[in-house]
């Protein structure tokens, strides 16, 4: 087994982040966009954990705890909003949700 280097972790993190971002950018479904957002958070978390591991400090881990907490709250609120949105307008396709503009 090859010991993973920091760069490998960071590369994986960057790839995950890019996938998440492209998801947010290109998809039209609010749930999928939401998943993309989560993926970006996880990518950042991974990078922080890797830094923590390779620097032998706890700084990154502390960050991760906060990010997990905030992400949990955010998911709860965000999913509730998506559900409410669906009940109200019958769709969660963001290209159809343009009442602010029109």
């Amino acid at each position: 087994m090859i010991a993973a280097t920091l760069n490998a972790y960071l590369g994986l993190s960057a790839v995950l982040f890019a996938i998440g971002f492209l998801g947010v950018l290109l998809r039209r479904n609010a749930l999928v966009i939401f998943m993309g957002l989560e993926l970006m958070l996880v990518a950042a978390t991974l990078a922080l954990v890797a830094f923590s591991r390779f620097n032998a400090t706890m700084d990154g881990d502390v960050f991760v705890f906060f990010i997990l907490t905030v992400a949990a709250a955010e998911v709860a609120v965000g999913l509730a909003i998506v559900v409410a949105l669906f009940r109200r307008s019958g769709t969660i396709q963001v290209n159809e949700l343009d009442s602010l503009k029109n």
Binding site: F21, V24, L26, R28, N95, L97, D98, K101, N102
Partner: protein
């Protein structure tokens, strides 16, 4: 109660009355009238007590403190103020009572009586003020109440225009007044009347011609002196009792009173100007009165003329000469004569106006004297009282005006013969136009239906006429004045020996000449001939048909000021205003508009970014991150 507190009460009561009317009694004309008349009675009682008991006091409180400038609110109640306060209270009360009858059918009675109360408040303030700033404040307040009351019938465009004209014309004079006050404060360091008197008597070296002349500007506006007299005839659009109180007896006399208050600031050169302005005004007013057909306009021009007399009297007899040390010897003869004439004029002119109000009321609002006639039989009471007033104003011996006019003529005779000649000629004109008015309105046959069916007013209109008639008949005998009030009037010069004979014979000669001319020119036969000569059977002025050149010249003279001001406003001021407007649009407006346009344009572009699609916002977000990164990396 101390006298100062009583004075404060007299000042506060009418204000409270006006406030209460404005807040609670707008729709209750009767209650508002009762309140206002009650307050006027209170002022009369207080003024009589203060005046006759001989208490004289000064009291002041700091009111405003702006850095080094301290404006105090105080009373200076000396003999001059006592006399003026009694006049104001007396005439004011008579007019209030008369208004009960005259305005009984008016829809806006509450507003009218509230206006009268505001006026009484402001006028009392002017009389009692112990410094020029306070006087100026109340000075503006009487201007405001005058505006309010001229404008009483605001549905008439003429009344609105007249009210605006009165206010704006007064503002012109008041600007000079304000500059004078500021200059007085700048040079003398105080505007308190007593302090100024102390400075002058202790030989204060500062000797300024500008201060009295600037302050006189205020009197020119308020007392309708040349060249700002144009507002007073127009002000006759207001209700007749208002004309009697404000535009004849008290407010327009405030200018004279103010001059007497600031006598200590006078210097000989300024007094010469004042005397000549007054003389010219006296002559001008009398000349204009000759051609008027409207009974109130005749009286308005007569008021201008009589105010000119007072101003001339003040100018003639206030400063004797300047000593080597720079000290100025003040002589009170001018103040005495001016205040004496002010007093008698207040009585007989208020009586004339109230009498004309009674006539107008009786003739169902007919104001043209050529459409009156024969009122002597139909309105006997008004006729008798009006005759007393006419006798007083033309200076029939032993009536009030005779003595006060003699005092002024005597002063002119001893100081300046040219002014004496003009004033004596004016006295002849006064006799002419007053007897013309009297003859046309009361004698002869009725010349219209409304004169045919004229009727006398009720008790509330007759009682004030009786009181004022008594005063106009007896007001000239200074020995009858209570000791406390006679002080000021006694300063007037008593002519002696040859001067007395000359003055007396001149005034009697012009009286007889002017009166006889009027009675001949306006005899029934002459009026009939003039009326028959006119094709449209419109009642023509015999002067107009008999002497068209003189008549035309007088009308031109009367209109010349209005024409000149109209020309100035239309051709000069309006064009200048348009130029300024153009500069404003181009410069200031242009700058502002281009700034606003810039902001608008930015907004337009910013709005284009806002498309309402989530994905697009993410793109912008990405672009933002990229820019941020570029900054952080030092690329940008």
């Amino acid at each position: 109660m101390t006298p100062a507190r009583l004075a404060f009460l007299l000042l506060a009561a009418p204000l409270a009355s006006a406030g209460a009317t404005a807040c609670f009694l707008r729709r209750r004309g009767r209650a508002a009238a009762a309140l206002s008349v009650g307050v006027a009675a209170l002022i009369l009682a207080g003024a009589l007590w203060l005046g006759f008991s001989g208490v004289r006091f000064e009291a002041d409180r700091e009111w405003l403190s702006l850095g080094g400038l301290v404006v105090s609110f105080g009373f200076k109640f000396d003999d001059l103020a006592a006399l003026m306060l009694v006049i104001v209270a007396l005439v004011g009360f008579c007019v209030h009572v008369f208004s009960l009858g005259y305005m009984s059918g008016d829809a806006a009675k509450a507003r009218y009586f509230a206006g009268l109360s505001v006026f009484m408040f402001s006028m009392t303030g002017i009389v009692l003020a112990d410094n020029l700033f306070m006087m100026f404040i109340f000075w503006e307040l009487v201007g405001f109440s005058s505006w309010l009351l001229i404008n009483h019938w605001h549905e008439r465009p003429a009344a609105c225009a007249a009210a605006k004209k009165a206010f704006i014309t007064n503002r012109v004079g008041d600007f000079g007044f304000l500059l004078g006050i500021l200059m007085c404060y700048w040079i003398r360091g105080t505007v308190n009347l007593t302090d100024l008197a102390v400075q002058t008597s202790s030989g204060f070296a500062s000797y300024s011609r500008a201060i009295p002349l600037l302050l006189f500007c205020g009197a020119i506006g308020k007392s309708a002196q040349l060249p700002l007299q144009v507002w007073l005839p127009d002000a006759m659009e207001g209700p007749t009792p208002v004309s009697a109180l404000i535009h004849a007896a008290t407010m327009v006399a405030a200018g004279i009173y103010m001059l007497c208050r600031i006598q200590v600031l006078m210097v000989p050169q300024a007094l010469d100007v004042i005397a000549w302005v007054g003389t010219a005004t006296a002559l001008y007013g009398a000349l204009c009165a000759v051609t008027q057909r409207d009974i109130k306009k005749v009286l308005a021009y007569s008021t201008i003329s009589q105010l000119g007399y007072m101003v001339a009297a003040f100018g003639l007899g206030s400063v004797e000469h300047r000593l080597e040390s720079g000290e100025i010897v003040l002589v009170a003869a001018g103040v005495g004569a001016a205040m004496f004439h002010l007093t008698t004029h207040a009585f007989f002119k208020a009586l004339l106006f109230l009498g004309s109000g009674s006539v107008i009321h009786g003739c169902s609002h007919e104001q043209d004297i050529f459409r009156m006639g024969g009122l002597a039989r139909r309105m006997r009471f008004t006729f008798v009282t009006f005759t007393v007033a006419v006798a007083a104003i033309v200076g029939l011996p032993f009536f009030a005006g005779f003595f006060s006019k003699e005092a002024i003529l005597a002063l002119a005779f001893s100081r300046n013969r040219a002014i004496f000649a003009v004033l004596a000629f004016t006295a002849g004109l006064t006799a002419f136009y007053m007897l013309r008015l009297w003859r046309l309105a009361f004698l002869g046959r009725p010349r219209s239906d409304s004169a045919e069916h004229a009727h006398e007013g009720g008790f509330s209109m007759r009682a004030p006429l009786a009181v004022l008639a008594a005063l106009a008949a007896a007001g000239g005998f200074t020995t009858l004045y209570p000791r406390a009030l006679a002080g000021i009037v006694d300063w007037a010069l008593e002519p002696e020996g040859a001067a007395r004979v000359a003055v007396l014979s001149t005034s009697l000669a012009v009286l007889v000449a002017g009166g006889a001319l009027a009675l001949i020119l306006y005899s029934s036969a002459a009026i009939g001939r003039a009326g028959a000569a006119a094709a449209d059977n419109f009642l023509r002025d015999p002067l107009e048909s008999g002497f068209p050149v003189i008549f035309g010249a007088l009308v031109t003279l009367r209109d010349s000021f209005d024409t000149a001001y109209g020309y100035y406003i239309e051709k000069v001021q309006q064009r200048f205003a348009m130029l300024l407007n153009f500069v404003d649009l181009l410069g200031i407006g242009g700058l502002m508009r281009s700034l606003a346009g810039l902001v608008g344009l930015t907004g337009l572009q910013a709005r284009a970014l806002h498309v309402g699609r989530l994905n697009v916002y993410v793109f912008w977000f990405l672009a933002g991150v990229a820019v941020l990164w570029a900054f952080a990396a030092g690329i940008l």
